[in-house]
């Protein structure tokens, strides 16, 4: 499916379009919730990437980081648009007029931008996770999700390669860069586990062939990440997993601050067009 078709379909929704779930037993609200989880991950990360603009270590990298941010923002819009089409809301209503308690992103996405090492470390983990996820989701029985995933998987493959190369450069670069990227990986590692936790909703959708069982992605994820860390001369952290809760209305402390900034103007003028 082309990008346009995906967007169109997301806008139309199943009421008028040819989507979606093969089984009428599937609750549309489940699909909307699932799309929100993926969309919020992409949106919050895109917001963090937007914070890099004009701050990158080199001008060429500024352009590269913005490209990645734009990919993520595009994914967020498609996913929120689809979630909204199932629940009668627009992408902007979902992005700008939900509180942090109503967001469904994993805590890892909410971590502050940090230095370049923190950004690369997170990009490596998230891109590896999203790549495994979208590759499988592109086979989803839900045509809209499958279409979004087919486009996204190419984008995150590039993000993964970008992050991989920089992880190698930082890990095996100077003592300073090695120290920084190791600290970055250590700091984010407690939040990795949340990405691979499944729940009843996801299981219902997975059974119907619509969603991907997150818990099944951990093995493939490790198989991608471990050799990269090893080649970069980095140590895989052995730390307890944090409790998380981002998918269930227990947001990261960082999220409220991010949303305060992102939503401030839209909320000053509720109902306005831009």
């Amino acid at each position: 499916m082309t990008e346009q078709a995906v967007t169109q379909q997301a806008a139309n929704g199943p009421a008028t379009g040819t989507t979606s779930s093969p089984s009428s037993a599937v609750d549309r609200r489940d699909i909307a919730e699932y799309a929100l989880r993926l969309g919020d991950d992409a949106l919050v990360l895109a917001q963090r990437m937007g914070e890099w603009v004009s701050h990158a270590p080199e001008l060429e990298e500024d352009v590269a980081l913005t490209n990645i941010g734009l990919d993520l923002l595009g994914q967020a819009r498609a996913l929120l648009g689809y979630a909204g089409s199932l629940t009668g809301r627009t992408e902007d209503e979902l992005a700008y007029f939900r509180s942090d308690l109503e967001f469904r992103c994993a805590h890892l996405m909410c971590l502050p931008r940090g230095d370049f090492a923190a950004t690369i470390g997170r990009m490596l983990v998230v891109a590896a996770y999203q790549w495994e996820l979208y590759e499988r989701l592109s086979e989803s029985a839900d045509e809209t999700l499958a279409g979004i995933a087919k486009k996204a998987v190419k984008e995150v493959a590039y993000h993964l390669e970008h992050a991989r190369m920089w992880t190698l450069r930082l890990g095996d670069g100077t003592d300073e860069s090695h120290r920084r990227i190791q600290v970055a990986i250590d700091d984010l590692w407690p939040l990795v586990d949340e990405l691979f936790r499944t729940d009843d909703l996801e299981q219902r959708l997975a059974t119907a062939g619509i969603a991907v069982d997150s818990s099944a992605l951990r093995g493939p994820f490790d198989a991608v990440i471990d050799p990269i860390l090893a080649e970069a001369t980095l140590t895989r952290p052995d730390v307890p997993a944090a409790a998380g809760g981002g998918r269930h209305g227990r947001p990261s402390e960082h999220l409220g601050h991010l949303l305060a900034e992102m939503q401030v103007l839209a909320r000053q003028f509720p109902g306005a067009s831009w």
Binding site: H55, A76, R169, A272, S273, W274
Partner: protein, 336 residues
């Protein structure tokens, strides 16, 4: 044949400075025939210096120009506007890079140009020392600042220096969307709520005069213009371009439903152009001297990004050196 690069620093060679009569005559002939000077051609030293100064200033302007708009990326009021703004600011980084790339063909390295910018010895356009307190500034910058830039830049696509002209062709192609998106932001605000309309008008009030001053001092006071025009780096005078811009703005402002804050603005039947009011050149000079709202802030931001990135650039260089050493070692093994 020489092994100096077609784009890197030319060897110090008297033939490259058009001091020898033959070389000088050839340079003059190319300019007279409206031809293009290419990187390794002989050229007068002053021509080279003028170009490096202008191109690096132009590139610096693109890079510093990312900040006033970057200021709103995280707060853009819709996801579509956020995407457009990110793409636009990214284009500015790209345009800065095209221009640094063109300037490097004259033997001045990016590092030298960056150092000069950060040290405060190289210029960038004064317009970026004005702040962007409201979202409507995104519209006003697109419509007025990019609008003025395009009027300035289109003739540069025929500039006598080939790499500069080629960079400008690419930039103009990409930048035509910038002005349109700015216009669209203002139009949406102008037709929006009363508060939105007021926000748009306020932004136009603040950016109108500074955008007219982007064309530089009146012709009578412009120190570099005559020589640059003789060299066909510049094709039209500051005042000619400013007039073209004003003539363009008036009907567009009407379409926006916004007024231009200029009491002297009226159609002059005799000239076939719009007259416009006196500009406050004292303010222009004050901002140029560093007394604008954001002069210090813009440079501090740029310096910090550069300093914060130093360890990253060093890491990449170190990694590349290690990899190259490994490759060499592998080759030696296979040769033995």
């Amino acid at each position: 044949m020489e092994s100096t690069t077609p784009t890197g620093a030319p060897a110090v060679d008297p033939a490259h400075d058009a001091s020898s009569d033959a070389a000088s005559a050839e340079f003059d002939a190319v300019i007279a025939a409206d031809g293009r000077i290419e990187p390794r051609d002989a050229m007068p030293d002053a021509y080279r210096k003028t170009l490096v100064r202008q191109m690096s200033q132009h590139a610096n302007s693109e890079i510093i120009g990312m900040q006033p708009e970057g200021n709103w990326i995280t707060r853009a009021p819709s996801l579509m506007r956020k995407a457009i703004l990110m793409a636009k600011v990214q284009d500015e980084a790209g345009h800065g890079l095209y221009l640094y790339s063109a300037a490097e063909t004259l033997g001045t390295s990016r590092a030298e140009m960056t150092d000069a910018l950060l040290a405060g010895t190289a210029r960038y356009s004064s317009i970026f020392n004005y702040p962007t307190p409201t979202w409507a500034d995104m519209g006003a910058i697109g419509w007025l600042v990019d609008g003025a830039a395009i009027v300035n830049q289109v003739p540069l696509c025929r500039c006598s220096y080939g790499p500069y002209a080629r960079a400008m062709v690419r930039i103009c192609k990409e930048e035509s969307f910038h002005q349109r998106q700015g216009f669209e932001i203002l139009l949406t605000l102008s037709r929006g709520t009363a508060a939105q309309h007021e926000m748009a008008q306020d932004a136009v009030n603040r950016w109108y005069a500074p955008s007219l001053m982007m064309f530089g001092p009146p012709d009578a006071d412009s120190s570099h213009s005559a020589q640059s025009m003789a060299w066909k780096i510049k094709r039209f005078s500051n005042d000619e371009l400013r007039q073209r811009f004003v003539d363009m703005l008036v009907p567009q402002a009407e379409a926006l439903g916004l007024t231009l804050p200029d009491e002297g603005l009226r159609w002059n039947e005799q000239r076939g152009h719009y007259d416009y009011g006196e500009l406050d050149w004292a303010e222009f000079k004050a901002v140029l001297r560093g007394e604008g709202q954001c002069n210090a802030q813009r440079l501090t931001h740029r310096r910090r990004a550069h300093e914060d990135g130093a360890w990253v650039r060093a890491a990449a260089s170190a990694y590349a050196a290690k990899q190259a050493a490994k490759d060499d070692a592998r080759q030696e093994v296979s040769a033995a």
